[in-house]
Every structure is written in structure tokens, then in C-alpha cells.
Amino acid sequence: MKKLLLALSVLLLLVSCKPVDLDAAIPVFNTGIDANSWAKIPAGEFLKGQFEEETLIDYDYEVMATDVTNDQYASFLNEVTSSGEATLDGERIIGDYPGDTFNGFRHEEEIPAGKYLYIAINDPAVRLTYDGSTFASKTGYENHPMTMVSWFGARAYCEYYGWRLPSELEWEKAARGTDNRAFPWGDTTSRNIANYISSRDPFENMTSFGSNTTPVGFFNGKSYNGYQTMSNASPYGIYDMAGNVWQWTGDVYPDQHYRYMRGGSKNHYENTLRVWVTNNATPTFTGPAVGFRCAR
């Protein structure tokens, strides 16, 4: 009995110390969803939040049909580093931000005008490569959402192309439509409709590296080598508004420096996928389950 307990303890220690291979090969699938497409959201009322407040957005707008991909962000970095709009500072790509109004509220941190982190290219969790002159996606991750990107990096991407990060309200209406559904696709969830923790998609292995991102638009009703997905498109045809990666939104609120994210992620339970749930972080925060999309 004692030997068994000892062996079990050693095994557990070994399992917990086993390093995660972040560059392990992953399956490659073409989802057939165009990452350059946009969805139009018409002006009108929608039900905001958990308690369904009638809220008006009195203008039409468009939101990207998918999250921004690694390929798209690599192209952006190549362009802005060439033009000097972003610079390499050691191992970090940084760019200008005009700063926020600072009120000195409790826990509020000042964000003055200056250069801020977009991505840290030496972070092994970044799915981009950089050979000293050109950025490119790591093999297999070309059509996966761009992650490990700060709020400044997300904002800069959208603004570079003349777009913007969606506000929280815009994001929520784009995800929910005009009824009171909890998820972009309806009121209940199942494992083959979105990428969340233990959703058992082909990119997940909870016994080793854990969860991974899925290609943008992966859950669209197609079958991939026998893995049948259901479409998670919102009422406006927008994919991955729940699960896969949290999405930065554009609002800057008074008395706090936090930036808000929506949509839940591959690393969180399905209750975080509900359209009204928010996450937040300092604008320099980067994470393997944080990405973004733009609005215009």
C-alpha cells in the first residue's frame, strides 16, 4: 500500500512537471469561412445584458465575421514595422497611444501618452515567427485567431485599416441579435458548437497541453475528419462570438484603466460564453486565449 501511494505521488509529480510543447504539430483544416468578410448589423434596439434591458444602437455598423487571424496580424506587423508606425524595442513590438484621462481613482493606473506593447515576440505562446525582417504565422496556425496581443496591439490593427475595436454594446448586439438568447446560436450549448474548456474538439488534449485555439469559423456545421461541428454563427452570421478566444472591445471607461473582453474562451467554462459575461485586464495584458476582431 505504501509503495503504491509513493509510486502514485511520484507519477503525479512527473505529470505536473512535464513541460508543455507549445510547438507540437496540430491538425490543419480549411474551414471555408472567409476571414476577410464582414457582417452588417442594422440600427435598432436589442436586449442588453443578463436582465435584458432594451437598448438602442441608432446606426448601422459592421463587424468582422471572424476573429483577426495570425496571418492577418503578421501582414499588419510587416506593414507597420516597415512604415515605422510600430517599432521593435528589444523583443517587443510597440506603438503609440495618445493616453487616457487619469482621475486617480482607487486602483486606477495612469495610462499616459506613449509607446505601448503590441506583442512580445519572444513569448513562446505567440503563434508568429520573426526572422529579423518578416513576420509570419507558425505552421498550422495561419487561420487561427491572433492571440498574445495586447489591447494596444488590437486597437492599432483596427485603426491602421481605418476601423475600430467594437464597443461592448456593439459587440453584444452583434453576438445576440434582437432576442434574449444566452449564446450567439441560441439558449443551450453543446460540445461541438464552440471551443471551451473540455469541449473535446480536435485541437484539445486535456491530458497534455490542454486546450488550443481552433481555426476561425471552425464551428460552422462542417465535418472535419469525422468531427461533426454545429454552426455557432450569431443571428448576423458572425462566427466564434462565444468560445475560442476572448475578444478585446474598445471602450475606455472613466476611473479605471481596465479594458474589457467578451465571448469566453478555450480556457474557460461554458457559462463564460454567455453573451453578457465580461472579462477584463490591463491594456498591456496578453494571453493565449485573448484575441480580437474589428468593427466599422
Partner: protein
């Protein structure tokens, strides 16, 4: 019919029977609803349970469901602590009967009204029953305060071993009274926002709003309410254990004023969260320090006592270090109750202080979901640790002896601490590993946590099955316990 009547009388009229019913129901509810979240959801058990029992999980009602579930479990714990108080402290028999019967009906109404309303559709009559249950518990609390009133002549003491005023007012009773008064007032801080639902207040989980800079008065009231209620349940538990250990002497005289002032200052601090959120924290730290010092003195007293008694049992007059440690651990049930209070410092208080000190420097640099993980783990551990302490006291009351006592106690101590330790590492995992490489650590801590919790639930189940089978015996333990008070039990052990 007589067969049923006698057992019903034991379960619902005797103190030990009432405690047994409460613990059994809390265990059943925790085990059942625990299958709807965490690893049980990962493994697909949640889906099976939801389908099989026809549970209705409306997504927008998740927070409301959880609030009702937490209240139901908390009300059972409050009832169990109340039975222990009415059993341990002298009071008039009619008061005791009124308090116990009212709180029993109250928590049963909270269970059988609240849970069907929360998990099986919305029949509003059930909600009414739930609210009526909470109200009865509140009323029972008021009666308990009346019964506890420490300044009555008949409760004055002259024994100088126990802390008392010059006039003989027992400070331990004052401590129970202060804790109870703070509890009753603090309940209102939850009840008032609750009754304003839809009129400026909507349900939320406090861990979800920690970073919101501007909170409404009703939101702040709820935040104060949940913090103080859990803290007071823990203080009440410490006071009950004080009685179990027959806490007395100089440590008692030092501890009781600290328990009284700690309860009141802590409560004051959480009430002040509503008008003065920033200043309130400093007062809360002060109150917590006082109460924790009181608990520390209890630990010192009880460990010295356990060593003394353990050595005496072995016929050793003055033992060496190892003999003293052996004596301390010789009754793991009594050692475990206070050890868990010490362990609480590593997994709850220490973590809480560290998080507060390094909040902006470390934890607020993480995403909110990681900070939420700490908060959720923090109060789950505090609540469950408190439950294990009460469980140890009950196991003693239930007459657990010999090897069964040793196995029960050690499994409960080791496995619950294994689970709490694992959960502590899990909740603080960002200090150890980045998010991208967290999975092996998550797997290990989840596995250890699950093993710990499963073993704890198993030993609890075995204890409950033992007591259940005893009910089928004509002359089982229940026949003795039907008329035995828990104070008599204490004397029996001595």
C-alpha cells in the same frame, strides 16, 4: 407507527438527532449539486444528472440559482451551529424547544422551497416557502439572542477558571451573544437588497464585480453581507469548539474579549462597506486580527490540554518532544478540529493577506478571470474548512471511538487538507506557470483536489450510513442519544 414515531422523535426532537439530520441533508445537497459544476461537468456527469432529474438550467438564471443554493447550504450550517449552541449553553427548556423547532422548520422550508424553485422551473409558491423559511430562521435567531442574554442573574458564574466580569457575567456567553447579534443585523444587509430585486438591484455574484469601480449601495450591502456571514459562521464554530474543548484558564480570559471585540469590529467593518468602502477594509482587518488572535489562544490552550491528557493516558509525567507530539496526535478528532484552524491560515488567511498586499502589483495585472479564480477558491475553502471542523465535533458527539475514530479523523484531516492545498495552488497557478503551459499543473491539482474531496465525502457517507443503520436497531445508539444532551456526552468522554 410507534417504530417511526420513536425514530422521528430522536431525529427531530433531540439535539444529536437534529444535528445528524442537518449534516445528512447538507452532505446530500452538496454531493448532488456538486455534480453540476467543475470536474463533474468536464466528465459529462452534469449532462446525465440534468437529463435524468429533469433539471431546468436557464442560462440567465445561473447566478440566482447559485445564490439560492449557497443560502440553502448556509442555512443548514447555521441550524446545526444553533443546535450546538442550544445544546451547549444553559437556557430554559421552552426557549430551546422554540429555537430548535423554529429553525428546523425554517431550514427545511428553505431547502424544499428554494431548491425546486431554483432548479426545477419557477413555481412562485416555492419561492414564497423559501422566503418564509429564511424568515423563520431569522426569527429563531432573534429568540436565540433573547435566550442567550448574558446579563441574567441565573447565568452568572463564580468559577474563576472561566472569563467573566466582576459581577459574574460569563464572557463566553457574551461572545456567543455578540456573534449572534452581529449575525442578525448582518442578515438584514442581504435581506434588504434581496427585497429590492428588480427595483434597483439585480442578482450578482460578488466575485464578478470586484474590479467595478462604482458599485451601488445595494451591491455594496450584498458584498458586506456575504463576507460577514461567512466570517461569523467561522467565529461561531470557534466558540463551539471552545466549549467542546472546555476552554478555560488564562488563555480563555485573553481569548474571550478578543472574540467579542473581533465579532463586533469585523461586523462593523463590513457594515461600513456601504457608506465608506475604502475605510471599511482597515476596520475589517482589525476585527479579523482580533478574532484570529482569540482562535490562536484556543489552539494554544487545546494543544497543551491534548498533550497533557495524552501523556497522562500513557502514564508519562513529563514527556520529551516526540512523546508530546505523539500525545497531541493521539486523539486526532480533537487535534483535527483546531489543526484545521491553523491550516486555515495557510490556505485562507495567508492567501487573503498576500493577495490584498500585492493586489495592484501582481493580481490586478492578471486578467479578471484569474483573480476571480482566487476569490472563488478562497471562500469555498473557508466554508468547507469550517464544515470539516463542525463535522469533527459531530463525529465525537456521534460516539466514534477506537480505530474508527482514528481512521475517520486522519482521513478527514489529510484528505481535506490535500484538497484545500491543491485548490490553493490551483487558484494561485499564475504565480507558478503562465497560462499557455498551465495544463499539467491544473491536471495535478484537480486530481489531488478531487481525490481529497471524494475521500472526505466517502468518510462522511460511511459515518452517515453507520448512523442510518443504527436507526434500524431496536436498541441502537439513537435510543441513548434521544434523551442525552451534548453536554452529557462531553462529561461521558471525560
Amino acid at each position: 407507527m410507534n417504530w417511526v414515531g420513536k425514530r422521528f422523535a430522536f431525529l427531530f426532537k433531540s439535539t444529536k438527532g437534529l444535528i445528524l439530520v442537518g449534516i445528512a441533508l447538507a452532505a446530500l445537497i452538496s454531493a448532488f449539486f456538486g455534480m453540476l459544476s467543475g470536474p463533474m461537468a468536464d466528465w459529462g456527469i452534469k449532462d446525465v444528472i440534468v437529463r435524468f432529474f429533469g433539471i431546468t438550467l436557464v442560462e440567465s438564471e445561473r447566478e440566482g440559482r447559485l445564490v439560492i443554493l449557497y443560502h440553502v447550504i448556509a442555512m443548514i450550517v447555521v441550524a446545526v451551529e444553533t443546535y450546538m449552541i442550544t445544546g451547549l449553553l444553559p437556557m430554559k427548556e421552552n426557549q430551546k424547544v422554540l429555537i430548535n423547532s423554529t429553525i428546523t422548520v425554517g431550514y427545511l422550508a428553505a431547502i424544499f422551497g428554494g431548491l425546486p424553485f431554483a432548479y426545477w422551473g419557477h413555481v412562485w409558491a416555492f419561492h414564497g416557502i423559501y422566503i418564509a423559511g429564511l424568515s423563520l430562521i431569522f426569527f429563531a435567531g432573534c429568540v436565540l439572542l433573547y435566550a442567550l442574554w448574558p446579563w441574567r442573574k441565573e447565568y452568572r458564574i463564580t468559577d474563576n477558571s472561566y472569563a467573566h466580569t466582576r459581577k459574574g457575567v460569563p464572557l463566553e456567553r457574551v461572545a456567543f451573544f455578540a456573534m449572534g447579534s452581529a449575525t442578525i443585523i448582518s442578515a438584514l444587509f442581504g435581506a434588504i437588497p434581496g427585497s429590492s430585486f428588480g427595483n434597483g438591484f439585480t442578482v450578482f455574484l460578488a466575485e464578478n464585480v470586484v474590479r467595478v469601480p462604482h458599485k451601488s449601495i445595494l451591491d455594496l450591502s450584498i458584498i458586506g453581507h456575504l463576507h460577514i456571514m461567512l466570517a461569523l459562521i467561522a467565529i461561531c464554530c470557534a466558540l463551539i469548539i471552545s466549549r467542546w474543548m472546555d476552554f478555560k484558564g488564562v488563555w480563555h480570559k485573553l481569548a474571550m474579549p478578543l472574540m467579542i471585540s473581533g465579532s463586533l469590529v469585523l461586523a462593523m467593518g463590513t457594515w461600513l462597506v456601504v457608506p465608506f468602502e475604502a475605510a471599511a477594509h482597515a476596520i475589517i482587518y482589525g476585527g479579523s486580527t482580533l478574532a484570529m488572535l482569540g482562535a490562536l489562544f484556543l489552539v494554544i490552550f487545546s494543544w497543551r490540554k491534548l498533550i497533557r491528557e495524552g501523556l497522562a493516558r500513557k502514564g508519562i509525567a513529563r514527556g520529551n518532544f516526540f512523546q508530546k507530539v505523539g500525545a497531541l496526535l493521539s486523539d486526532p478528532l480533537k487535534f483535527g478540529a483546531t489543526w484545521q484552524m491553523v491550516f486555515m491560515n495557510f490556505t485562507v488567511s495567508g492567501i487573503g493577506i498576500f493577495t490584498a498586499v500585492k493586489l495592484d502589483e501582481i493580481f490586478r495585472q492578471w486578467q479578471f478571470m484569474d483573480e476571480r479564480s482566487i476569490l472563488t477558491g478562497h471562500w469555498h475553502i473557508l466554508a468547507t474548512l469550517t464544515a470539516t471542523i463542525l463535522l469533527m465535533y459531530y463525529a465525537d458527539l456521534a460516539g466514534l471511538k477506537g480505530k474508527a475514530r482514528q481512521w475517520f479523523s486522519w482521513l478527514l484531516i489529510i484528505c481535506s487538507d490535500l484538497a484545500f492545498g491543491a485548490v490553493t495552488i490551483y487558484e494561485m497557478r499564475r504565480l507558478i506557470t503562465p497560462e499557455a503551459t498551465q495544463q499539467p499543473l491544473i491536471n495535478t491539482t484537480t486530481l489531488l483536489g478531487d481525490i481529497g474531496i471524494i475521500v472526505v465525502l466517502l468518510v462522511l457517507a460511511i459515518l452517515m450510513v453507520w448512523r442510518l443503520t443504527d436507526l434500524f436497531k431496536k436498541k441502537g445508539r439513537w435510543t441513548i442519544e434521544s434523551t442525552q444532551s451534548i453536554v452529557e456526552n462531553e462529561e461521558g468522554i471525560k
